[in-house]
Amino acid sequence: MACGLAAERWKGAGLPLAIATLWLWLTPVARAASLSAKDVQIIAKVLTFLDPPLNGGRVAIVYAGGSTTAKHDAEAILTLFGDGIKTRHGLIIATLVEVGMLSSSAGYSAVILAADTPGHSVATTSKALRIPCISADTALVRQGACTIAIRSEPKVDITVNHAAAEAAGIAFAPMFQMLIHEL
């Protein structure tokens, strides 16, 4: 009896539910960011193991202007930074930067690459600015398009492209350097 009542109540709700599901699926905001909250915390800590360490400052979350996926991923990462992440050396604040604007921007201590953003376009700029490029995509780091890859699951894994870091003049605290994977 109760089951019949419930079935009656939901009768005719099929189409709106299907539309809502499709909308949620198509809306990028509903998707998870390429970086998790834990990844972002790790990025902030990694920056304190640069040599010299980052004593607080701004990091640029770079996205491809023509990609909705990139834009929404960047926004999701920015949300994870909130009002900034406090480290032992200071507060790290994130800002959204469209990839084309990066070369004319100044004052950033690191670049975080959003999903669906071409790494090579950022590689040249980050190298020129002598700041690390950080991504969730290890393949980009392997290609040398980005300097540091971060992954926190199932275990924390930090991969650095040694040549890319050296070319950009980026150095790490020696003890930290011995605990990461360098390519």
């Binding site: 040599d51 199932p154 275990k155 605290a173 930290f176 360098e182």
Partner: protein, 683 residues
Amino acid sequence: MTVPESPVMPLIRIACRTKLHRLLRLAGIVLLLAIPATPRAQMINYGELEQLFGEPVTTSVTGKPQRASEVPGNLTIITQDDIRRSGATTIPDILQFVPGVDVRHNWLGDAQVAMRGYNSPMTPRLLVLVNGRQVYLDDYGYVAWNALPVQMSEIRQIEVVKGPNTALFGFNAAAGVVNIITTDPLRDSINTATVLGGTQAYGEANIVTTAHLGSTAGLRVSAGGWTANEFHTAPANAGLRYPRAANLTLDARWQIDPDLLLRAEASLTDALSPRVTPVAVSINTQVQTNSLRLGAAATTKLGLVDIDVYRNAGTYEYSNPATGGGPARNIVTVARLGHLLKLGATHTLRTSLDYRNNSDSADRAIGGTIAYDDYAASIMWDWQISPTLSLNNAARFDHLALHYSGNLLAISGRTFQAFNATRIDAASFNTGLVYRLTGSDTLRLTFSRGLQLPSLLDYGLQAPVGRFTLLGSPALMPTVVWNAELGLDIEIESLASTLGAAVFVQRNVELLGAPGSTAPGVAGGVVYSQADDIGSSDEVGFEWGLRGRSEAGMRWNASYRFASISDDIPAAGVKTPSATTRYRNGTPQHSIILGAGATLGRFELDGQIRWQSAYTDYHVNADTFAPFVIPNNVTVNGRVGYALTDSITLAATLQRYTVARLLAPNFGSGPQLRAIASVTAHF
């Protein structure tokens, strides 16, 4: 972050106002000038690196900082949380729940800890360190666990490495290494005081406090003491004294600049306890030690450089209630220069030069002074062959020169020349291949050659004891321990657990027979038993352990260990079978450990239970050793903790041991219970 002022701050302020401050600054400038290049970084920061990687980091396996899950060796790390939740008052009480570790309890202040069997009274096969400083006593080569200058609450982690690691740490890392890492006085702020009381009239108080001078200098001071009656009621009648211990430690670090760190440590201990000797006799022992250590760590353009110099001095009184005893004076001086460098993306190189002078003086037991100088050079090469495969090789070469001065007993047949011409040149190595099966699973294959140096008494003892005269021998060679091992660590997501498994084979060559355990000889009408290389022994074993936790605050562990030993020790070389000449019977073949715990609001409830199969121990009976069986037995440890406030914790711990009773006339073993209540204040 604001660091609360500690009671030690006034002392530091006084030091700053006085000439001491100027002198320290001058010393710093001198050291700065001594470093050949511009310093650019600093030494390992355990806390921050553990927080970053989500697991403890260690240098105890290769000398290079590594994540616990990536080391080329069999490593277990016991964290401060584990220590607190155990409620244990001694380190052996914690180690007995590590798979593959064997602990024998003889007296309340006398426990023998061994790795993978081969346990015996005053076992010399284990190297124990506090922050890399050796704390085993060189006369017998054993660890007086009751005399360690460390409080449980100041330990960051205990690193347990199973298998030989002589290539990194030198002699006596033959069966394994226990490295006790304390909190960093510069970066951590530990301020606790604990009062404990319990059965056996147990009473203990300890305090740990840390003071910081800005963000560049820190000092940790710890002190504690305990007293108790014994497990058995008879020792006082047998002339044995009840145990007690007290110690004081100072640990200071000064970051001269971001790139150069100075370190100074000092400790004092005084510990009294009945103890069982290698010849299975219970005696009174009083161990008084002091240590002083100075070190510096810097990063130069040529890599990380560290200098470590320390001196351990001890006065040991071993007194047999029946035959008496006498004091011995042991001094160990160690100097070490280390260098660590990462070459390119995939190679890390560590080199080290070590010097060690070790002497033991005792009129009654040695008739003078036995000593040696040891010079060693070591190298470690770590190669990350691919993102999933790494190879680690370490090798060390030791050159040792023995010295003796004093009055040689005529019956020994030895001459000064026999001692002073003794030279030992010995090599050791460790090789390890680590393959990352997935992001969280690893496979390890290791092969190593470790060395157990004869103790100073194995070399120089010449003591009439009863009808026998016990003699050392300068002709002894180190025991060589070969070990091959295949290990696997995998994450089991469905159980929220990590499974570790290892299968190993071990070969021990030129096993040392302690004076008193070897076949007697007669010279000039005197019966003697002289230290000798008595044979070899092989072991195969298997261990697995599961360890997990849930986000709801539950934790659990389960493990099983199997060990099978086969001795090849000719009967003609030993007096009668004893604990130091029959390892097969003396090692439990099976042990099972089960544990569970939960944090429920302000309560912490934890329990561990260990079952192990029977083994044989020996006692002295009319100049020979007589066996007695310790049957299958159970060890239990349970604790309930309650956080009364954010700064006060109440706890109750219940322990059940199986204690071997090596005291005439009622030899044997039996269960002993301990109950301990404690109040801890964090300030």
